[in-house]
Symmetry: C2
Subunit: 382 residues, 2 copies
């Protein structure tokens, strides 16, 4: 019996989009959902109360980063990640697999796990499937992820085949270790389907993981540099393989277009640093496309970031003021843009859920894309 | 008729401390009061709503900084500083005099004003009494400050004498220009008593400025490197010279001990960047003295910054978590310490006002100092 339960409400009549609820030990979330990323036990520049005000129902935090700083033992001693960071709603932690492959140096993969060097100080580290479980047990997240290898794009069929077979063996070890710990009563473990752009390997990976009966499945290894049409093709061919009574999570995706396209193909959960990362550079999502608020042309623009937006930032501050804050390196600037960008994606997902309910997701998508393409900075940049 | 009015409620029976209210166009403030500093139209790391929640009744902003960035014309076009920064309570702006003398390079003082170079890009700038008024008129602050020279410490008697005489002539020009503008109906202009450590010059400066009948007076040129006993002596000898029916403002002072000692000597208003500046380095005021939260010893300390404190930070976060945020360069860390330090000083001033009301300010001071000296970092460091 899993500690989480997916409740399917309806499937869109126009697309594969699913409306549902995911019940977790720290509360119920509406799917499809976007999860803001709190890499180091904080969603950058935001307070937990602001996240709640924005309608964040679940956040993601990173096993690899918390393992290095402050160390999972400290988080555990604090009473777990929820208490440590003052967030009492659901938390999903990744496994560290992606960071080991994207951030670390000198990595060497062996059957036991991965030897690599810290991206912070170059010290020698080793992470195994069992280790990734132990860390996530110490953190106490509601949803844990299996330790996988995320192959780069492009990679050869031969390499990816070996990789998914190892990822499957690691997934078995994760599951065994998780069950043995007894923590499976309060923490749910998701499997991660890999396979790169190769559909036969995606099929093989999905089949193997489904046989292990995880309470949820992620699609990993996408949004790693491949063209978006490849990502969409993989989703179209892979998602129908997954059990309908379990949640599906597309890892690392957060651009407005990819969220909508992902939902249409049946994805329930997304996460990405994109909204907060670009916000700290002064780039904002708006209903008319991306806007770079530092631009000179906004110097005397006393209108809101997005005239269509009713968030705290847009109700109270002008482009001119926010531009000034960025030019003067003032922290309030990136607080305001981070808040706005998170609001934009969380509202988008609320609108998407309403559109699924009303069976007009395709019309919603068309109207959204039409407006969004009127991008004043770069029409091609979603 | 001035646009502000000082209402004297009572004078402490034990000391020269005054309890009062200052009525301004944007609301009434309780004195004695501490004014958080919003240098560039934002109190660093804080939102206006947080300042209100903290009990900030008035903030200070800097004429010199806003003149350079974004430029006072942009602030004026936005509808003034209150609207630009989303703060509808009182604002006091300094005159730029202090920054011209402390930040800028290659300054040359002439009777007309000061030639100097920007601290940002080295460009040539000139500021005169009339210019400082014009900028503050564009900003629209409730309380403006006269353009003065702030002599360094130490300085010779001869230098300071020439300086205060010029400051007096500049004050006359400020007043004339201010009245001519008609802005004196909505903005009050304070004079600044200078004179360094020389009491005869403080007397002369006070006498000259009082003759001009400003609606409020500041004591400038203190907290510029002189020992604290010199500062207290100057206050003791200068404050009694000032009219009792007008507010007295001690510029640039914000350490807990100096706030209490200033109030005891009759000061009504204070400002300082200290609480927010040290907060961004991880140094916190606590009832037991300053605490450097980044220290290794707090790694597993799951108690609040200050066990005696009931602020948002102390109610929700541990020293271990805040230390982690600082070690990881996370913005939430300095948001939490900035919030806490401002709360500490604003609560201190609330307690001081209550003590004046109850005629037990000396007992309050003794108890506060007794606890505060139990400084775990440095017993001498207030």
């Amino acid at each position: 019996m899993s500690s989480i339960r997916y409740e399917h409400i309806k499937t869109c009549k126009q697309t594969g989009a699913r409306l549902g609820k995911l019940h977790t030990p720290h509360g119920t979330i509406d799917t499809p959902i976007f999860m803001p990323v709190g890499t180091l036990a904080t969603v950058k520049a935001m307070s937990p109360e602001e996240l709640t005000e924005l309608g964040s129902q679940i956040i993601l935090s990173n096993t690899y980063h918390l393992w290095l700083r402050p160390g999972e033992d400290i988080v555990k001693e604090a009473g777990g990640l929820h208490k440590f960071m003052n967030w009492d709603k659901p938390i999903l932690t990744d496994s560290g697999g992606f960071q080991v492959f994207s951030l670390s140096e000198n990595r060497k993969i062996v059957e036991e796990g991965v030897h690599f060097r810290s991206h912070l100080d170059g010290s020698k580290l080793f992470l195994s499937p069992e280790g990734a479980m132990d860390i996530q047990h110490a953190l106490g997240s509601d949803i844990m992820m299996a330790f996988d290898e995320c192959p780069p794009y492009p990679a050869t069929h031969e390499y990816v085949k070996q990789s998914i077979e190892r990822t499957t063996r690691w997934a078995e070890r994760c599951l065994t270790h998780h069950k043995k710990s007894g923590q499976d009563k309060t923490q749910a473990l998701f499997g991660i389907v890999q396979g790169g752009e190769f559909q036969d390997l995606r099929n093989q990976s999905a089949r193997d993981l489904i046989a292990m009966d995880f309470p949820g499945y992620a699609i990993g290894g996408l949004s790693v540099g491949e063209p978006k049409d490849i990502m969409y093709k993989v989703l179209e061919e892979t998602l129908p393989l997954l059990p309908e009574d379990k949640p599906r999570y597309l890892m690392g995706v957060g651009s407005p277009d990819a969220l909508i396209e992902g939902v249409i193909r049946g994805v329930d959960m997304f996460d990405c640093v994109l909204p907060t990362r670009i916000a700290r550079n002064g780039t904002c999502f708006t209903s008319g496309g991306r806007l770079v608020v530092k631009n000179k042309k906004f110097e005397r623009d006393f209108g809101p970031l997005d005239p269509e937006c009713d968030c705290y930032t847009c109700k109270n501050y002008s482009r001119a003021y926010i531009r000034h804050l960025f030019k003067a390196d003032e922290i309030l600037g990136l607080r305001l843009t981070s808040y706005h960008n998170l609001h934009f994606l969380l509202k988008l997902m609320r609108d998407v859920r309403t559109a699924i309910l009303n069976d007009n997701l395709l019309e919603f998508k068309e109207a959204f894309f039409e407006a969004y393409k009127l991008n004043i900075e770069n029409p091609k940049n979603f």
